[in-house]
Symmetry: C2
Subunit: 493 residues, 2 copies
């Protein structure tokens, strides 16, 4: 959920000034139109990590627009005296009327997240809480409200840096409270719980926008532009279409992507490779013969651009396995029988029993990669696939499967080098087709699709592992090592 918000975004001062003046004028204009029409209220939720600029953004919104028609309310966790009425009561009291804007700083998310992080609320209650919120927001949208949910994010390192900077600045030191430092200590569990909350409540009618809070200029423009777009769209009469899946957020305004900022250039010398390969294959083999595998299965997913080395990497894994207990499933276009069934049906067929390993050479992620980019399925179909895939993998994990997903990442240049090499090698040139060359033109679209995929399907139970594979030797070792680690973790839990 937060992967793309941690790559570091930035907007220069000049560009900020230029874009800000356009933005604020448009926002003010939209606000007056909203007020004149008085057809629907706008509810803006501002949540996120401490120090990520929530307060500054709220302040900006009030400066950019006419604050007389904005009601800003801050909410923290429930105080002791506030338990005499239902929890949602305090929010009902401050809902903006049609034509008005309400900014809820903290909102209905703070109490459940904080209570769960602090251990005051068990997982059950937390899940019920989220279900209730979903229902409440569905009602707000059905009643006509435009609901905009911002989550301001900072990586742990950024959060610490920001606190220190504020503290050392005499004018700002008061902003950092001991509460913030305490929160920072709980950063990991706070982010983990928040991620669960965001995932469960990012619905088609009320999606979250995660904003990287580290650069004030980037943060402010991103939030402002998103608000403006949502407002003008709605004012233009485009009804909120209640789609079954949350829309994919717009691309970052500074153009930076997860894969675009990845370090592809890690290498490994052949000698070190040979040594580590043998060691790791032995370790993997032992792990899979562990008695604990009797209640476990192993599901491996290999995805990557063409020529990223999926096949050769898979072979290095299977070399370590007992042939009676594994299967490699190469995934291509679906058969006629498979097309007469729901999308995931053809993967459910291959779900492994306890004790078995299945290796998917390409997988169910085809829907959100090639099918999305090539327009092979309707937008709504690949959008709902994110949730369906998460549910599928969650079920796999629950039944005892260890689900390990690799994205083998190469650069465009390295792919070109390999394509040329394949063409020059007689027994390899069957591997390269016109399609492969055409796909290269769509590299940026694929990069964006991969970024969204990782943001949306890297879950606790089935995280993605992005492997630099410009150097194949490095990639193979990385895959084997990660695999062993995940198995050891699973056995230990």
């Amino acid at each position: 959920m937060f992967e793309s918000a941690e790559i570091g975004h930035h907007i220069g001062k000049k560009e900020y000034k230029r874009r800000e003046s356009v933005l604020r004028e448009a926002l003010l204009h939209a606000q007056y139109e909203l007020l004149g029409l008085a057809k629907f209220p706008v509810i803006i939720l501002v949540n996120g990590v401490g120090g990520a600029g929530k307060g500054e953004t709220v302040k900006l919104f009030n400066e950019w627009m006419d604050p007389r028609h904005i009601r800003t309310e801050a909410f923290g966790a429930l105080a002791n005296g506030e338990h005499g009425r239902p929890e949602m009561w305090r929010f009902w009291q401050v809902l903006p009327a049609k034509g008005h804007i309400g900014i809820l700083f903290g909102s209905w998310y703070t109490e459940p997240i904080v209570a769960h992080v602090m251990g005051h609320e068990k997982a059950t209650r937390f899940v019920q809480h989220l279900e209730r919120i979903r229902q409440f927001e569905r009602m707000l949208v059905a009643e006509g409200a435009l609901l905009i949910k911002f989550w301001f994010h900072l990586s742990k390192a950024e959060a610490r840096k920001r606190f220190k900077a504020l503290e050392s600045d005499p004018e700002n030191a008061w902003r950092v409270t001991s509460h913030d430092w305490q929160r920072l200590k709980q950063y990991d569990s706070f982010v983990k719980v928040s991620e669960q909350a965001l995932r469960k409540t990012s619905t088609g009618e009320a999606p979250w926008l995660v904003v990287d809070g580290s650069d004030p200029a980037y943060r402010s423009l991103t939030a402002g532009q998103y608000l403006l777009d949502a407002l003008t769209q709605r004012l233009a009469g485009q009804q909120p279409s209640v789609v079954s899946a949350p829309p994919v957020p717009p691309p970052a305004i500074d153009g930076r992507t997860l894969l675009g900022t990845f370090d592809y250039h890690r290498t490994l010398a052949p000698k070190a490779y040979q040594h580590r390969l043998v060691t790791l294959q032995g370790r993997l083999n032992l792990l899979l013969r562990d008695p604990r595998m009797a209640r476990r299965s192993l599901v491996l997913v290999f995805e990557g651009m063409d020529a990223a080395g999926k096949g050769s990497t898979i072979r290095r894994v299977t070399q370590a396995l007992d042939a009676r207990h594994y299967r490699v499933v190469p995934v291509a276009a679906p058969s006629e029988e498979e097309r007469a069934q729901p999308y995931l049906w053809r993967f459910w067929r291959h779900v492994s029993h306890h004790g078995q390993t299945v290796l998917f050479d390409r997988s169910w992620y085809g829907r959100v990669l090639v099918e999305r980019v090539e327009g092979l399925c309707a937008e709504n179909d690949w959008m709902r696939a994110f949730d369906e895939i998460n549910a599928f993998e969650e079920q796999l994990a629950e039944s005892g499967a260890v689900v390990v997903k690799f994205w083998l990442a190469i650069t465009l240049d390295e792919q070109l080098r390999r394509f040329k090499q394949r063409q020059a090698t007689p027994y390899k040139n069957f591997k390269i087709t016109d399609d492969d060359w055409r796909n290269r033109d769509k590299w940026p679209q694929y990069e964006r699709a991969v970024g969204d995929m990782i943001d949306r399907t890297s879950t606790d139970v089935a995280p993605w592992h992005v492997v630099a594979t410009n150097n194949k030797l490095f990639a193979r070792i990385e895959v084997l090592a990660h695999l062993c680690e995940r198995l050891e973790q699973a056995f230990a839990s």
Copy 2:
């Protein structure tokens, strides 16, 4: 959920024969059209209470249609050896392909319901289970499946009767297993858990149809007709509109309704009334001064047709209350300020704090009664109101409120008598308007709306209590007695 299925439905032999022959021909025709088109699969879930005719209905479906294109599969709770793969795996294996019909006898509901009733699965896990099912069914519908969910119901008395009848019939005795008798012992918890499951999974895209299973003719025609209507609608190209709320089921084919079968004629003699009134008012007063009220509040809802005696009954309650701690909220048309807010906003304003009592003279149920019948709001708005109201009352209950809801039930004749009396009484004739007379014409529509309301909003935490009020004295005592009981229950829990 099951209220309307317990009033006893019946279809005569002759009518059954006549309708059956028409129905089976149409069903067979629709099945072949489905097969020819091969555009979508039909998935029929058959669940319900033991002895309610699930097996017979499945048999009939296979007789009425061409069984070669129907795949019937039965599912019970998970056996010991079936835990090596994710639980949903076995259902994925039998999903019907496009053009085909799959009947899932038991389906994905049996395991979670039975496991929860037997205490093998805690409430948490049960709720997660239901959430997963909702997600799974949403996917099926998004993939094009026509999903039809039948729940066959029997009241406890009917279930017992049916078992005994089967047992004493030598040809059918084998059908009743010791397992069934054991299940009957757990009838109450089975029905309670099932009700929760049905409520949480009756979604807009895949609603449940609850069928009274006591009369075979009624049951078979109801199920067959519903299947036929769903099929022909879908074949005619009407896409499954994913609405936010489950549609209201069609009226019973024998025309019987909850209010139509209610016993209105219970009375109380004036002398007994006086004595009981004083006793009950005293009991109520004491209860409300109990120290346990410090963590409780009381929310009373009075609904009923015009002249059912809401005002006079409310006065008999308030006579027992301390004026500092209660408020009567008469509900009429919403103000301008209230219209600029979501529907429930004007009731949230009056939510009481611990220690207080609020009496609503008419209430949020206006949306599913007068607004529905008079067409004052869009269909989708009153349909989603059922869920929103349940969520609202659940939150009230959670915050400590005891929510008690009365439907004061009078007959059309008695209403007429009271209207005439009012017109003849000078200080009362302001109470009667042209609207009141007009509403009498819509009596059947109101009766149906009340039936749906009780089926859908009589929950564990806030059940409806229907009070016969043709005799006002009886009604007042019934209300006070029920109120005291509910408070005592709440204090004891």
